[in-house]
Symmetry: C2
Subunit: 234 residues, 2 copies
């Protein structure tokens, strides 16, 4: 039933850098992925209790793979497993959102810096193509399209930093961020601001200006947080 969701090309993007990491290949990871998508897309709300026995029934398995899936979810901070108590979907409170954005800003600053040092001209040109997609989405007012192309752009940047660890950690943070990022972009006017920042970022890449790129990248992320903060929606 959820295979459709998980198989979806877009949600797939959220897991690419995480896939290699997982231990148990199939059952546990499948359940993990399924639940993770439901959490980040907001179908499983914060505080919702997840029952391993019930999940086992739903997935036609025993509780063992379910438990392992829950551990994977905990590793991504999507659920909290108190000892001897029911696991529940982790809360999304503003202070914690800020913490995550701060980390993400710092790491994307690093990505941009490394990218300038290590990416080839062709690779940087590839980023410009993502940028073109974003421009088009913005022109059409296609918030959803913008959102996912933005994910693609971000993933491409991370990959060009040529630091696999960094890429993995950002992917992990990204999963967490998707729980509230759509809030940020759907705010009025936000999309155009974001686009302008992207523009400056791509230009800094083309100019091979590492310091500027890092600064723009950081502020790009932080601006997303401030938008959420001001919206008062969390």
């Amino acid at each position: 039933m959820l295979a459709a969701d998980v198989g979806d090309l877009r949600t797939e993007m959220l897991f690419t850098a995480l896939r290699g990491t997982d231990g148990s290949s199939s059952l546990a990871f499948t359940i993990f992925q399924e639940l993770a998508v439901n959490i980040v897309e907001g179908r499983l709300l914060p505080g919702h209790e997840v029952n391993s026995a019930e999940l086992a029934r739903r997935f036609n398995t025993s509780r063992t793979p379910v438990r392992e899936a829950l551990l994977l979810l905990e590793r991504e901070d999507l659920v909290i497993i108190p000892p001897r108590r029911r696991p529940y979907v982790s809360p999304v409170a503003l202070p914690q959102v800020r913490e995550i954005y701060e980390i993400r800003a710092s790491l994307y600053g690093l990505v941009s810096q490394l990218l300038v040092e290590r990416a080839t001209d062709e690779e940087i040109h590839g980023l410009a193509e993502w940028q073109a997609l974003l421009v088009e989405d913005a022109r059409l007012g296609d918030v959803d399209g913008y959102f996912w192309h933005n994910v693609g752009f971000r993933n491409a940047e991370a990959s060009l930093s040529k630091n696999g660890e960094l890429q993995r950690r950002l992917s992990s943070l990204g999963l967490q961020m998707h729980r509230f990022r759509h809030l940020s972009l759907s705010l009025p006017g936000r999309l155009l601001h974001s686009l302008a920042d992207h523009e400056r970022l791509v230009r800094a890449y083309a100019d091979r200006d590492a310091a500027l790129a890092a600064a723009v990248s950081r502020s790009l992320v932080l601006r997303g947080y401030h938008a959420i903060e001001r919206s008062g929606r969390v």
Copy 2:
């Protein structure tokens, strides 16, 4: 038998920020901690295969908690669990060491920046006391003492950033880093360089110079990597 190791006050420091995170309270986490210490202290070498059945025997448990402990170890990148194959202690190759130091440098830059913005004068004064311990260790040439006081200093900084997520992620990185960090400090002359950097860092804190503190903090970490790189020991 290993309780002595794990109970040790110093190794304890490595896990403080990780403790709350764990799902299974006792058995799995105990096994995890035990194995983690053995890996970071170099008693379990990279590539060494860990056999869940054998571990279960050694800890007088079934394989279930052992499996969960292995998942926790995988989360800290201390073991790799290929599907349907034996888990093994993750390798420590120079390129990956570099990746981790890059991330750590960036995040400690963030720590220093946030610390300047958020710590009270008393708290910053507390850091100066750690610094005094380091000076004393350096004077005595006590590399081991310097190492652990340095960990304490770093933990204190992370805590003063008042960003719990950041603290947790640094703790996770730290666990990984301890696998090769002792290499760095035991290099001749390295200790004094490190001390001089600390001195500058503490002064930047006292002066509330966020930009300088962040820069010094980053270079402090990166210098550690360059020392390892030049030593050619990895």
